[in-house]
């Protein structure tokens, strides 16, 4: 008699300032400098206005680079995460067919995360947007993480996300491609 298939939950709930790849930071403030920002090296402070907005983010930096006290990076790489309901108006992801394409990996710029049914952390299906990346200083993210509990994407879903990001980032577009071999042309 075959044994039961072990359960592989997508998420766990964690707290504290130990950050790992796959941690989801909800309503995290991101800062958007103005498009016409001009920085002078005169040494004189200059004032401007930054826009900030609350954004759901997922940690993309490798966990081994974020070990407390032995950090290998100064800033943490994060990607935007959208709830599916937020994408209702999107031309691709606003339709079931588009979400299905994303789920199957046919839209390399996106990665679909399962919904969460953890008590008090019920979340709908979400989409990681590899085109919207942010970096935040490690201490800032740690301080923010201490504020409460959060969802953490678990293996192997975490590595699946990381692999999808790598695939998107390493894409190469050829300026002149080899003509298709579908015809009789040589």
């Amino acid at each position: 008699m075959a044994g039961r298939i072990p359960e592989y939950p997508w998420f766990s709930v964690v707290e504290g300032d130990d950050i790992e790849q796959g941690d989801i930071l909800e309503s995290f403030p991101v800062f958007l400098p103005p498009n016409d920002l001009a920085v002078e090296e005169s040494g004189q402070p200059s004032s401007t206005i930054f826009k900030w907005q609350k954004q759901d983010l997922v940690v993309m930096s490798q966990s081994c680079d974020l070990v407390k006290g032995r950090e290998k990076v100064d800033d943490i790489l994060l990607c935007a995460v959208w709830r599916r309901s937020e994408l209702a108006a999107d031309e691709n992801l606003g339709k079931d067919a588009g979400m299905e394409d994303a789920r199957k990996g046919r839209l390399p710029a996106f990665h679909v995360l399962a919904g969460s049914t953890i008590a008090s952390f019920e979340r709908e299906v979400r989409v990681v947007d590899f085109r919207r990346v942010h970096t935040m200083p490690v201490p800032m993210v740690r301080r923010r993480a201490q504020a409460g509990k959060r969802l953490r994407l678990l293996p192997p879903y975490r590595e699946h996300l990381s692999q999808a990001f790598a695939r998107f980032f390493m894409r190469v577009g050829l300026p002149i491609d080899i003509p298709p071999f579908t015809g009789r042309t040589k």
């Binding site: 200059s46 930054f50 826009k51 691709n92 390399p108």
Partner: protein, 113 residues
């Protein structure tokens, strides 16, 4: 003469024992197949009794359509993106920029660590 020769050949083939295939004893076939695949049998995670599922004779072939011509890369839409980001709570923040000098690289202790 050509015609009798052809008839003779046809007659010869019709009578070859190899063409005659009497119905095999199912139990004998089953035993032989079990011996043949004795080292390769995997007990499937199936609810049916094992004896029904561990021999190829009990597996119905599933014939699918022939593979169609496609290119995996053409299934991928590399250009897809969210044109207009969904609105999120936002605000404005006055900031003062102070020049801190040119950036310096972090010291490398163990590049493989």
């Amino acid at each position: 003469m050509p015609v009798p020769t052809a008839n003779a050949v046809a007659t010869l083939h019709m009578g070859m024992p190899a063409i005659y295939a009497p119905a095999a004893d199912p139990e004998y076939v089953k035993r032989e197949i079990e011996k043949l695949f004795a080292r390769d049998i995997e007990v499937l995670s199936d609810n049916r009794p094992e004896r029904q599922i561990w021999t190829p004779t009990s597996v119905n072939p599933q014939w699918g359509p022939a593979p169609t011509d496609f290119w995996a890369d053409e299934l991928l839409d590399w250009d897809a993106g969210i044109r207009v980001a969904p609105p999120r709570p936002s605000g404005k923040l006055p900031v003062t920029l102070e020049y801190a000098g040119g950036a310096v690289p972090s010291p490398t202790v163990d590049p493989w660590d």
